[in-house]
């Protein structure tokens, strides 16, 4: 139930693994069966599924509402919150969730007034300050007697350890289900408020309330992901699947579903690759997300280029005919 020992735990696990598992065989069923024999892998898949679905759904609106920067700031707040909780000796989960919720509401307060530029600056200032505060708290913690020599806690919070979530996977799943239900319930008015806030407000949509509620939910999504993928890496699952989905699909609810599906796919693939290769799961998930995004952008650019060429070619032919 504590974040403190996660990294050392996962180090133990990988040693244990190396001795007892068969290598990847291309017999996919057998591979998956072997993988799921292990408690820690089942826990990782369970927690990973909840985190991915939440991040994919919330991410669609984060990207649509230009709140990528704000959600990154929430990650930094969560880092400071986890450090503060560790220092005070309170449950780290409690610290993370409390800070994420308070942070979401505070960021929403910043967004009410002022231009996009002012909001950008204010968010950036808060983010830097929070990271600084986290560093201070980490420093105090590491040199204090509470730490008991465990200085890896900082890395644990920032990067998580999805292979070490066994025992807390159900907290993640329950927080995930609540967040998913809340997001789906408010999806339609939130879409209206995101695309066309003025009309939505005039039509009676509680635009401000929805904005506050949404950032609160983003805070919860970050908090629940901390033990598994960490405060920083959740960002990859929040942004990349949504950005890809919005590039590929223009129907809002279909894009929302695709975003969740992609997040799920990256997580499952990352976990499987992580089990059979020596690379860390967090690296694999972020790399999959990043490479897929690059491929989609490249494919779309190529297609644009091709159609433009075809157009200019046919234009040349037309001018020639007209001239002749």
């Amino acid at each position: 139930m504590n974040l403190v020992n996660l990294t050392s735990l996962s180090a133990h696990l990988s040693l244990l693994l190396a001795s007892s598992i068969q290598p990847f065989s291309w017999n996919l069923l057998a591979d998956i069966q072997q993988m799921l024999q292990f408690d820690f892998m089942r826990a990782a898949f369970l927690a990973g599924t909840a985190i991915a679905l939440v991040a994919g759904l919330a991410g669609y609106f984060v990207v649509l509402r230009h709140q990528v920067f704000a959600s990154d700031t929430l990650s930094h707040m969560v880092f400071a919150g986890a450090m503060g909780a560790a220092l005070l000796g309170v449950n780290a989960f409690l610290g993370v969730y409390a800070v994420a919720i308070a942070g979401g509401l505070a960021l929403n307060g910043l967004g009410w007034r002022g231009s996009a530029r002012e909001r950008d600056i204010a968010t950036g200032m808060v983010m830097a300050w929070m990271l600084g505060l986290g560093a201070l708290l980490l420093g105090i913690y590491a040199t204090s007697s509470i730490a008991n020599g465990n200085t890896a806690i900082g890395a644990g919070v920032l990067f998580g350890s999805i292979l070490g979530v066994a025992g807390q996977e159900w907290i993640i799943v329950i927080a995930g289900i609540v967040t998913i239900l809340a997001l789906l319930a408010m999806a339609r008015p939130l879409l209206f408020a995101s695309l066309d806030p003025e009309t939505a407000q005039a039509r009676g949509v509680p635009v401000r309330l929805l904005g506050a509620l949404f950032l609160l939910l983003v805070g919860v999504s970050v908090a629940e992901a901390v033990p598994a993928v960490g405060a920083l890496l959740i960002f990859a699952l929040l942004v990349a699947p949504a950005a890809i989905a919005q590039r590929l699909v223009k129907r809002p609810y279909a894009a929302l579903a695709l975003s969740a599906l992609l997040a799920l796919l990256f997580t499952w693939l990352g976990l499987t690759l992580g089990f059979y290769t020596p690379y860390p799961v967090s690296f694999l998930i972020t790399a999959l997300a990043f490479v897929t995004y690059l491929l989609v952008v490249a494919a779309q650019r190529l297609r644009q280029f091709a159609t433009r060429r075809r157009f200019s070619n046919s234009n040349t032919i037309l001018t020639h005919t007209a001239g002749g």
Binding site: R188, F192, R251
Partner: protein, 295 residues
Amino acid sequence: MLADEMMRGNNQQIERAAAPAPLSPHAIALRDTAVQLGVRTIWRDANLTIAPGEFVAILGPNGAGKSTLLRLLLGLLSPSQGRIEVLGNIPRRGNPAIGYVPQRRTLDADLPVRGRDLVMLGLDGLRWGLPLPGSKRRQQWARVRETLEAVEATAYANRPIGQLSGGEQQRLLLAQALVAQPELLLLDEPLASLDMRSQIAIAQLVARLARAQRITTLMVTHDINPVLPIVDRVIYVARGQVVIGKPEEIITTEQLSRLYDAPVEVVRDSQGRVFVVGLENETAHPSRDERTIAP
């Protein structure tokens, strides 16, 4: 030619008077209304009534309180004095009988949503939960298709809205306001940043749809000329006052000089277009690109 247009306007008013009388005598009524933003009184002593089905243009310099008037009717602001009635009731936010197109900057060029989806939000954007497939959903899409057809936007309704031209976006926003079949349509500068041809096309489209469905329409506009042939009356908001009347009564050298308390001249060109000269320094929020203000 101008006289012709006005005659036609009068005839239409007579035709409309013969139609069955609605329950409430006025679509909109303001009595001694004043509105304040912070400590500043925007305008006061506004007295006017608008009949159901009337098409009214709202004119006046920037910052005079034209959009404020619409916000008051929408229930987004409360008057500091006096009374307002909209469709027989005190204004309330979220009245489904009001269609509204706010003044806007252009939409993000990469907004990843189809025009059709934006129109649908005008019908179901208030509902919680996800839309579920079924016969009700099919009826809603049929209504969206019908509205898109009416504003002649079917051809580009499946393209991302950000990629459309200003005139195309304006048609989709109009469809969004119309899709729930409102009784009152409030349009804030729907003609801004459109070229002259699109301005006239949009103005005529609004007028045609509003007449056909007997929707009372208030349109804030910077330039009277595209709507001059189709308005019944104009509201002029300037220097803290709100006046209403037929265009030929309000947009005159005498009226506007009195309203502005400054020598203003109304000039008509050979094609019947109206220009107001002498207001170069009169905007409340002066903007650089306004040398001559068409009313």
